[in-house]
Point group: C2
Chain length 340, copies 2
């Protein structure tokens, strides 16, 4: 797939531009915090020995830099924004893993699972703080607007996780609430990534708002695809066991849609979720079939497409040169078709 | 004591100036996060019913506003800084209580003790995020310098807590390390408070650095006095049980000094700390006598005085009009003599 390899190349280029400043920021931390942050970012093992492993796709910094380039012809001005969004993203991952008591991320043990709760709280706090520091150091005149946009997005991100935690204790969460949560947890920071790229590239507010919409819609498409992968994804591509979300009884977007709009099949699915017993492999396969028969899979696929379409419409409003437009469209396609 | 009542009046005036914007910031949070933050700030009970109780002395915002007034003749420009430091302070209290598993603060149950770990993580995160948002919204030209100063201080604050957590597992922490930790946990944010007041008041870097030193030294005096109160403070004034720090086997600054420089009596004190049994009231009184005989009490009193003297010297360098100087000296005296 040439489009995919093209996007991966663009993301790798962005990562190369952002990583030196990201490493420089992390180097300011005390020894212990720096070790843990470096481990979490995939730069070393638990003992601090450098690893050559991948440190994730870095979609958020990629988005910042591609948009900066679309706006001002060069990705350079976006670099501090790319560093800041990557730091905020990883702050939220470390705290979320702690709250959700997830023990694995990208095939490695999570921070709290290795170093305990206090370290996970503090390393997350430190990364959030570094994000502000990096943006506050940026001398470009629009840096304060960028700082404000990132703070608002971070507040949204936290609100999304507050909803996520609250929903775990509830049985009656509807689709609108779930989409609101996904907007906070995934839309806000991808929206801010595109917005920061535009702001730091020198765009006016109307243009940077249009890019924010592009990123936001991309974020929702991303989440929908993630939820599809959590049921139907191939383990060798997702890095998670097959049916991982179903196994955890997680009510993702296609599930919630099926429960709300799936009629009789939806009610069957509700019974499946109400059963507290650990599901067998057969039972998991059965649940996946129920979601499909209820229409949840089809809805999520269509909804992800619709979000990509809306992202494209936002780009129309932003007014982007054809070559840059092509890159941004490819990124949207990549997010929506990722490993499906 | 007219000086004390004067300082309390100044602090109350600052609180009145800062509180409307603080409440406005907290009002941006989602319902649950807002309730918990409002409870923590002393504005309501667990169910959200407004309380008339005190919400603490608010020394940090008071410091911001007094310094802003000293620099530009009016406390007004300092208000966003006062809001931001109070938010950062409370973010750190909520996360520290969680990490230290403290169940009480100011005679009330702590956030994690009522609402659990996830809420404590998220509400702390949200307050830290609001602090950035408030400063990023501030239109004054020096706001970015203020944002950077606050980010650096927050990083120091986090480093202080990292050391605190690490020291709990060690038996051999020396005085220099303990002072370093106190600098991070208390000096950094009081330093930033004075620094932000100066920056937002329009001071140049040399002047704002001098004010930062004033606040930093005040912070160390504050911590030394806090440690003295943790052994010899009257419960009705400190709000904590008598001998509270000793009961918790906490190695505070006077203790660490006594262990390091107290000779034979220091070694007796070390034996006392090595005994894992829960100390009786008699044994607690005995430990307090050992610290006094070893010289730890006298050292801490002298060191607090020395820090206040250094704070005064920093004010000499900053160049402050006599009336403002008087207020800042009184604040330093108040911190050093608080309830002793």
């Amino acid at each position: 797939m040439p489009a995919e390899s093209n996007v991966l190349e663009l993301l790798a280029r962005s990562r190369d531009l952002v990583e030196p400043q990201l490493r420089e920021a992390v180097a300011r931390l005390d020894d212990h915090t720096r070790l843990v942050a470096s481990y979490h970012l995939g730069w070393c093992d638990e003992e601090g020995r450098p690893t050559s492993g991948s440190s994730g796709k870095a979609i958020r910094p990629g988005l910042v830099l591609l948009v900066a380039e679309a706006v001002c012809g060069s990705p350079g001005p976006g670099v501090p924004g790319g560093v800041a969004v990557e730091l905020v993203h990883n702050f939220s991952l470390i705290h979320d893993d702690l709250m959700d008591r997830d023990t694995q991320r990208r095939h490695r043990r999570t921070v709290w699972a290795i170093w305990g709760d206090a370290t996970a709280v503090l390393v997350g706090d430190a990364l959030a703080c570094l994000a502000d520091e990096v943006l506050a150091e940026c001398d470009a005149p629009p840096a304060r607007r960028a700082g404000r946009a990132l703070a608002v997005a971070t507040r949204e991100l936290i609100r999304g996780q507050v909803l996520d935690v609250a929903f775990e204790r509830r049985d009656d969460v509807g689709l609108a609430e779930c989409l609101d949560m996904a907007g906070g947890k995934t839309g806000a920071l991808l929206g801010a990534s595109a917005q920061l790229g535009a702001i730091l590239g020198g765009a006016d507010e109307t243009t940077s708002d249009a890019f924010q919409t592009y990123g936001w819609e991309l974020g929702l498409a991303f989440q929908l695809v993630d939820d599809l992968l959590g049921v139907w994804g191939a383990p060798e591509r997702t890095g998670k066991p097959v049916f991982s979300d179903l196994r955890a009884h997680k009510k993702t977007l296609p599930v919630v849609w099926s429960l709300e709009y799936g009629g009789a099949v939806g009610r069957e699915l509700a019974d499946w979720f109400a059963d507290p017993a650990t599901p067998t492999e057969d039972s998991l396969r059965q649940a996946a079939v129920l979601i499909e028969r209820a229409g949840g899979r089809e809805w999520a696929l269509a909804e992800a497409d619709e979000r990509v379409r809306k992202a494209g419409k936002a780009l129309d409003a932003a007014g982007v040169a054809p070559a840059n437009r092509d890159q941004l469209d490819q990124l949207a396609q990549f997010v929506a078709e990722r490993q499906l």
